[in-house]
Amino acid sequence: MSLRSKLQEAWICLTAGRVTLPYPAEPRPTPETFRGRPIFDGNKCIGCGGCANNCPAREILLLDVCQEIRVLQYLGRRCTYCGRCAEVCPEQAITLSRDFETATPRIGDLRQRIELFMGSCQRCGRCFPEPTPLDRLKLKGYRFDDIEHEHWVFRSETYLPGAPVADDIAIELD
């Protein structure tokens, strides 16, 4: 019984073939619908801020440095690759690539930063602010994030500079 079962087992093992994928030696293609690392095209972006407002993980930050320059920064740490930023982008400036090999020893490697040139009125040189603060809050892309400390803040009258708005909780361990 034992010899026969051993031979049977050996036969099964010999005829089973090989299923292990030769991944690190050969590249492995992803499916067509795979959503990997988002790529921001700085030349197509118009700076509407729709991606920053729709990101569920709050990974895209906006800051108006001055009248003409708006900085858009994608951090990529907690991005879930949901693709909502690419869906809302009116200019198709964001494409989700099929690149998944993003392992890195430095988390800052995933950052993408675009400095956008914002057009303004030809006569007065200013953009068109909404008349009331409530209208300003409802405006898409009306953000004033703290890029240095990576805080996301909606610019409103209640925001005081220096006050942490979405700060992480300080933890205590014994």
């Binding site: 993980a57 690759y81 998944f100 090999e101 392992a103 933890i171």
Partner: protein, 178 residues
């Protein structure tokens, strides 16, 4: 330097300990996929062990949570000295989608030092194998920070006296009033 040190210290086989500190089990399933015959990780000497005292590498999944922070710290301290920590998934790398809720403290690097990050939600099994290859120094990491400027202009054209700082850190002092 870290690469050479890794190759020296972890030249043979890595025994991994798999710590989930409150994730959704998506990354757990991908890590277990790596150990299946399809992505046979034992050909690289990677073996899953049940105790942190036997392990060289800790695979962290899930964010640092208020309830599991102490246990995660104790598991890290129980590992013998040359140790690596991998943060697998968006939760471990950056805190996940619920990074600002009460129970979530943030990424696991708030509790324990993290050496390698494998982002993804969840990362593919190939991405995890790639991360291990990066850690062992077999391949170089592909990603690098990107910076694009649409236009170089002598900004601001209107009130240059209100500028503070230089270069990329320049701040327009009256930005609130614009």
């Amino acid at each position: 330097m870290l690469k050479n040190l890794c190759q020296k210290l972890f030249g043979r086989s890595l025994w991994v300990y798999h710590a989930n500190s409150g994730g959704c089990n998506g990354c757990d399933i991908e890590v277990l996929n790596v150990l299946t015959p399809y992505y046979d990780a034992e050909r690289f000497g990677i073996k899953l062990v049940a105790s942190p005292r036997h392990a060289d590498v800790m695979l962290c999944q899930g964010p640092a949570m208020r309830s599991t922070a102490k246990a995660l710290r104790r598991a890290y301290e129980a590992m013998p000295a040359p140790k690596l920590v991998f943060a697998i998934g968006s939760c471990a790398c950056g805190g996940g989608v619920w990074f600002d809720t009460y129970t979530v403290l943030g990424p696991v690097e708030r509790i324990i030092p993290v050496d390698f990050y494998i982002p993804g939600c969840p990362p593919r099994p190939e991405a995890i194998i790639y991360g291990v290859a990066v850690a062992l120094g077999l391949v170089d990491p592909k990603v690098a920070p990107v910076q694009v400027r649409q236009l170089e202009l002598p900004f601001p054209r209107y009130h240059p006296e209100d500028l503070q700082g230089e270069g990329p850190l320049v701040i327009y002092r009256k930005a609130q009033k614009v």
